[in-house]
């Protein structure tokens, strides 16, 4: 509850009484993000449990391209900076800034998605599909759901952008931008975890056939 100390709602539609002083929608967003943590947590856990368990190739070491994904990761993290700028512009009622930074955020998000489409396609050409092996199943499901979250965020930001084009985003409804920003930063943070675990840590995994079963399965740790 780091944001408990936030100022009282100023927007005209948000002046209703709340017990804690936190806006309802902001609290809702935090609760939702808490829930989404468990969603991605379960997907990531599935990936980690099945690391190195694929029976046939291609394995991560064969096709994971860390340099390319580093670029897209960098772009996605930069988009978080743009989002912060968009909120700052909203609070200052800098109409031009709002539009520029919102568009920049969505644009960088779109670049990230473009990289993801490129990557999925490259994997497909290398013969990796969801049904090929456990790596394909877990990788595409996890990164696919993350990509869906980013896409949803882009749509949300673009809706805000078109509203901003009509000059209807400003300090009175800065909360709309802030909530979108919370979501956007969350999706970025999830990507940092995914990038670390799937690329930097797991990107060199091979199959059990090659005898490089890097880590014991988490399930067998319990035994």
């Amino acid at each position: 509850m780091a944001h408990v100390g936030g100022q009282l709602p100023t927007s005209e539609v948000d002046h209703t009484y709340t017990t804690t002083g936190i806006n309802h929608r902001k609290l809702l967003m935090w609760v939702f993000l808490g829930s989404d943590c468990l969603f991605f947590g379960s997907l990531i856990a599935t990936y980690m449990v099945y690391r190195g368990q694929s029976l046939v190739g291609p394995y991560p070491i064969d096709i994971i391209d860390i340099p390319v994904t580093t670029i897209s990761t960098f772009v996605l993290l930069c988009s978080s900076f743009a989002m912060v700028q968009a909120l700052a512009a909203t609070n200052k009622n800098d109409q031009k800034g709002i539009q520029i930074w919102l568009f920049a955020t969505a644009f960088m998000g779109a670049i990230f998605i473009g990289f993801q489409i490129y990557e999925f396609n490259a994997f497909r050409l290398e013969g990796l599909f969801v049904w090929t092996n456990l790596f394909g199943s877990t990788f595409f499901t996890l990164t696919g759901f993350h990509g869906a979250h980013v896409t949803l965020g882009i749509v949300w930001i673009m809706v805000l952008f078109f509203v901003a084009r009509k000059g209807k985003v400003g300090p009175h409804n800065a909360l709309d931008v802030e909530l979108c920003g919370l979501y956007w930063h969350f999706v970025d943070i999830v990507w940092i975890v995914i990038f670390t675990l799937l690329y930097l840590v797991g990107g060199f995994d091979a199959g059990p056939v090659a005898g490089v079963l890097t880590e014991p399965s988490l399930l067998s740790l319990l035994a």
């Binding site: 709340t18 609290l27 809702l28 989404d36 805000l160 209807k168 409804n173 909530l179 319990l222 035994a223």
Partner: protein
């Protein structure tokens, strides 16, 4: 924006059926939840009857083994996800805003969306009967039984997709109630003054928020396995069926507390009201509930003692499971302490509350007996487990919910439920429940496996099975008495007045049924058991309170307007799920309908976000575009 908002005009003062479809009033949504959930409760009860009749005599062939599998799967799925959870949600909806002194929940439209998603998800799962392909892999659908080629029909797909829709409904409701309870309490309603039912709703909602994403991932992976050929739980591709068990029970054990905590909350309200004294050790009961909510996350593998996790894991989960019995036991003593020395009024609600405590003790004790992993190895997958789950879910959750029905029925309808029929109803259910489920302990210990289609007379299970089936018919009659009681009481029951029980809660300060705005002016809460304090103060001053808070003209109070968009969005969600059931023979786009569904959901969410707060305000201010992105 003017053109768009004209299209998105909110429905003003609709009447009849349309008013129920567009309603965002928490009281109406509560009634919708209650009636719908009770209907599914009856359907699931009839499925239970088919199971019991099949098992009444050995070597029986009343239904085919296939149908039998569908019956026990749908009985449990419907009871858990479409009866007990939404019946609890009915109480959340109707009671919580009244109990904390609010005019509505924090997000009225999200609340309506939650109801419609629940209805659509439940109908989706049940529609599988129309195709003769109901789910048949048990309510926890263990892999690899759910994988092709072991399960070839569409039953499991209906199950997995329907549960995901129900999951969205539960999540939407849970988000709403976490925010409502944290953020919409009347002045003076501090956390440690909240009624126990509100507390337990908060804990339950937080459990839902955190547990449902886990089962969602499990269900997504199952759907991916079945529809897209992934290998999550498929041993052929290296997948591990145990992964499903872990995901399912990491959700499934908190789910057990999601089912029982609301009932515990209801009982903690009713026992003090009819013992004429405050709840014994209020903070201890609150913290026990919270501890149960936290520790509920550390016990899931006790469902998996026999899968071979090894002695370390089994020992750890044995210990945590025994530990979680402590806060539950503490609550039992608090309830007994509440009744101790009280002037007990034995009406139907109180009988149900006491019945809850008694039966839950039995279920709790059998629960501790399979917390011990060596002992559980003997009990796993036997009727002993069936006996246990029915003592905690029927004797526990359902008795708690019936306590709530008898307690709050006057608040919902303004009429009292008939006490004579009520007591007949209680004793039939109490006796019937014990005749049905107590013999199952013995059957289980004598080796009768759960979900068995039929049995040979040589095993010596005949008499107890016949007895259990006889008990079912006692329950059946008891339920009929209840339905008759509700119908007669709604038609010409005794007027209840605003406060028939001299109860302590905030909801009894206003008329029955409550006005649309609930509280004309926001109440100032004086303490725990607020209304008792108010009434005793008024009596001491010589001016006892005779009636509810005065009415005001509803037009003077700004209430959320009805909306079409929740049902549109929920319909899009249904379409999304249905879309994954219908496979097209195209190489790259086997499932085109979800794309259409996505557009429907997008339209719904856009309409939702941009619709004006109220028709009058829209015309007065010309534009209101930014009310409520999510």
């Amino acid at each position: 924006m003017a053109t768009i908002t004209d299209v998105l005009e909110r429905p003003a003062n609709p009447t009849g059926l349309w008013s129920w479809i567009t309603t965002v009033d928490h009281k109406r949504i509560g009634i919708l939840y209650g009636v719908t959930a009770f209907s599914f409760f009856l359907i699931a009860g009839i499925e239970a009857g088919i199971i019991r009749m099949q098992l009444a005599v050995p070597e029986n062939g009343l239904v085919s083994p296939d149908v039998y599998n569908q019956m026990f799967t749908m009985h449990a799925t419907a009871m858990i996800f479409m009866a007990i959870m939404p019946l609890s949600a009915a109480f959340f909806n109707f009671v919580i805003p009244l109990a904390i002194g609010a005019r509505d929940v924090a997000f009225p439209r999200l609340n309506a969306f939650s109801y419609w998603s629940f209805l659509f998800g439940a109908l989706l799962i049940h529609s599988s009967f129309l195709f003769g392909q109901a789910p048949d892999a048990g309510w926890f659908s263990y892999a690899p039984l759910t994988e092709e080629p072991y399960s070839i029909g569409k039953g499991i797909d209906f199950w997995a997709l329907g549960l995901q829709v129900l999951g969205v409904a539960s999540l939407a409701a849970a988000f709403n109630f976490v925010v409502t309870i944290i953020n919409l309490r009347a002045p003076g309603m501090t956390l440690m003054r909240m009624p126990l039912f509100v507390w337990m709703t908060l804990v339950t909602s937080i459990l839902l928020v955190l547990a449902f994403p886990v089962i969602t991932v499990g269900l997504i992976e199952l759907t991916m396995d079945r529809s897209f050929g992934t290998h999550f739980f498929n041993t052929v591709g290296g997948g591990d069926p145990l992964m499903w068990q872990h995901l399912f029970w990491i959700f499934g054990h908190p789910e057990v507390y999601i089912l029982i905590l609301p009932a515990m909350g209801i009982v903690s309200e009713v026992l003090p009201a009819f013992s004429r004294k405050p709840l014994f050790g209020y903070p201890v009961v609150v913290f026990s509930g919270i501890v149960i909510g936290i520790m509920g996350w550390a016990v899931w593998s006790h469902h998996m003692f026999t899968v071979g996790l090894g002695p370390v894991a089994n020992s750890v989960f044995t210990i945590t499971t025994m530990l979680i019995a402590v806060p539950t036991g503490v609550k039992i003593f608090n309830w007994i302490g509440t009744m101790w020395g009280g002037s007990i009024k034995l009406n139907t609600a109180m009988l149900y509350a006491i019945g809850f405590v008694a039966l839950f003790i039995v279920g709790g004790l059998s629960g501790v007996s399979h917390a011990v992993s060596p002992s559980d190895a003997q009990q796993q997958d036997t009727y002993y487990i069936v006996a246990h789950i029915h003592y905690v879910l029927f004797g526990g959750a359902i008795f708690g919910l019936f306590t709530g029905i008898y307690y709050w029925f006057p608040k919902v309808t303004g009429k009292l439920l008939d006490e004579t029929l009520g007591k007949i109803n209680f004793w039939l259910l109490f006796i019937g429940m014990n005749i049905t489920f107590f013999p199952m302990h013995y059957l289980g210990m004598n080796g009768m496996p759960r979900r068995i289609y039929t049995y040979s007379t040589e095993y010596g299970w005949d008499f107890l099975n016949l007895l259990a089936t006889a008990g079912y018919f006692v329950l059946f009659v008891g339920m009929l008495v209840f339905i008759v009681n509700v119908i007669l009481s709604v038609k010409n029951g005794k007027e209840s007045g605003h406060d028939p029980w001299d109860a302590p809660g905030l909801e009894w300060t206003i008329s029955s049924p409550p006005p649309s705005y609930n509280f004309a002016k926001v109440p100032q809460v004086l303490g725990q058991d607020h209304y008792w304090i108010v009434k005793r103060q008024a009596e001491a001053a010589g001016t006892p309170i005779m009636g509810p808070e005065p009415f005001v003209d509803p037009a003077t109070i700004h209430m959320p307007n009805p909306s079409y968009w929740p049902i549109v969005t929920a319909f899009g969600l249904l379409l999304l799920a249905v879309g994954f059931l219908i496979e097209f023979p195209w190489q790259y786009l086997k499932f085109p309908i979800p794309i259409i569904a996505g557009l429907v959901i997008f339209t719904g969410v856009m309409g939702w976000s941009f619709e004006p707060a109220a028709p009058e305000e829209h015309h007065a201010e010309g534009d209101h575009s930014e009310e409520g992105h999510h």
